[in-house]
């Protein structure tokens, strides 16, 4: 066979081979779903191989997304944690602002309802020494008007009395301080006594001294100011929490839970002057603090 003939034969065969798929393509269009035995054999071999490759690839992809991809997740987690912290701070600030706002609203209400002349003050530091129950106030206005001994109240009751005054600032001796002494009365029995701090560093409680045994009190009784001197009458001081009567003693031993929550004290009122004296023709003297703040009184 000459080289030319061989070449012609070669190209001829190549042309036939090229024409074969064209014929196949056209034939396949008539019945695209038909598979020959060869096709089926190839697909039966290929399909498990494809499934195996897919399984391996999916496994690798799973490892990637589950472990290596977690690098990004860690970074995102850090960002989210920082966001969370910031939002918590914002929430805390908003809650404090809301609490301040509620306290102010209550104080404004109290001021409107009370007959005594008062000025507002903000608590700038609280007592950290158990032996000295003192808080420091910053007066809203009227420095020079505030004097030692003036009562300090909030919407719950008596906070204490002005202990020291220095410019716009004042120290308040709380009712829970052992040096504090407040003239009180138990409205239910009419028994009188003096409230003073317990001088215990584990509790913020007070005791009532010189309460006569003839007028026995019970746990839950309200204790209010009697109204001597600058202190207006009827300001809630606390509620009886424990009573002990000993046969040989003249007075009852009474502990009271203060009406004021000293831990959350933020805004208070300083009573500059007691309410005007009661009308002698009137039925009853007006209390400094309205009755709704006095519990069962």
């Amino acid at each position: 066979m000459t080289p030319l003939r061989r070449r012609i034969l070669d190209y001829g065969m190549a042309a036939v081979l090229l024409g074969l798929p064209v014929v196949l393509l056209q034939a396949g269009l008539k019945d695209p779903g038909r598979l020959s035995g060869f096709d089926q054999a190839v697909l039966r071999i290929s399909s498990p191989l494809q499934a195996a490759v897919s399984w391996v690839v999916e496994g690798v992809a799973g490892v990637w997304t589950g472990y290596i991809g977690l690098v990004d997740v860690e970074e995102e987690n850090g960002e989210l944690r920082a966001d969370n912290e910031r939002l918590r701070r914002d929430l805390g600030a908003a809650r404090r602002a809301a609490a301040d706002s509620r306290t102010l609203e209550r104080l404004i209400g109290l001021r409107r309802e009370t007959d005594a002349e008062t000025i507002g003050a903000r608590v700038v530091s609280s007592s950290i020494n158990p032996s000295f129950r003192v808080v420091r106030l910053r007066l809203d206005r009227g420095d020079g008007e505030v004097q030692v001994g003036m009562p300090v109240i909030d919407d719950a009751g008596l906070v204490g009395r002005i202990h020291r005054v220095f410019g716009q600032y004042s120290d308040v001796l709380l009712v829970t301080d052992p040096d504090s002494s407040i003239d009180v009365v138990v409205p239910r029995t009419g028994g009188r006594g003096w409230v003073t701090g317990l001088a215990r560093d584990d509790v913020s409680r007070c005791k009532v001294e010189f309460l006569e045994r003839g007028k026995p009190v019970v746990v839950g009784d309200q204790v209010v100011t009697f109204g001597l001197g600058a202190l207006p009458a009827g300001i809630p001081v606390g509620m009886v929490s424990a009573v002990r009567a000993v046969d040989y003693q003249m007075y009852q031993e009474v502990e009271i839970e203060p009406a004021v929550r000293f831990g959350s004290l933020r805004r208070v009122l300083v009573v500059l002057s007691p309410p005007p004296p009661a009308d002698p023709d009137g039925a009853a003297p007006a209390p400094a603090v309205p009755a709704r703040h006095m519990g069962s009184y």
Binding site: Y11, M13, P21, V22, L24, Q26, S46, V53, V57
Partner: protein
């Protein structure tokens, strides 16, 4: 034997890429591995083109079965690419990454054109010609990207089935044996 190995290589490349491609964020196009393999066997055809043509047609046919295209579509295109490779064989030395990539780009474009022509003949072209052209272009670009790697694999396979040391060195170097 060499051509059978090339057919298997092409088959496995298509099989793996078909399984992998769904994880690649390019859904529009796929590199034309069959065209690259077919042009390679055409380029490296020794004295006779018919065996290379047979290998190319089988490569295309297997790809048709694996990918699910109408039987004969990729097969015909692969046959044409094999002829193309055979015709440029004496005129072009495909060596080096850049030249190989450029050659693969040309292969991708020609293969895309052939496939479009075949589909037009069969009445399978979509209405948007611009979209078809864009897909063909993307496919050609991807083919250019993977071209050097595919040729390298093909050469390695060729070198393994070389009959002499000279043939093996020439195949490994990218010279036509």
């Amino acid at each position: 034997m060499r051509l059978a190995a090339q057919v298997f290589l092409s088959y496995f490349m298509v099989l793996i890429v078909a399984a992998l491609w769904r994880y690649v964020p390019i859904a529009r196009a796929i590199p034309d591995l069959v065209a690259l393999s077919a042009v390679y066997v055409g380029l490296t055809a020794r004295e006779r083109v018919a065996p290379a043509m047979l290998a190319a047609v089988v490569m295309g046919y297997l790809a048709d079965l694996l990918i699910g295209t109408p039987a004969g579509l990729l097969s015909t295109s692969a046959g044409v690419m094999c002829l193309l490779g055979h015709f440029v064989q004496g005129r072009l030395i495909v060596r080096g990454r850049l030249v190989t990539a450029a050659f693969a780009l040309m292969v991708g474009l020609v293969s895309g054109a052939v496939l479009m022509a075949l589909r037009a003949w069969l009445g399978m072209l979509s209405e948007s010609m611009a979209s078809e052209l864009l897909t063909a272009l993307f496919s050609a670009l991807l083919t250019a990207l993977v071209g050097p790697l595919v040729f390298r694999l093909c050469r390695k396979t060729d070198a393994r089935f070389a009959r002499t040391r000279r043939e093996r060195d020439a195949a490994a170097e990218g010279l036509i044996p």
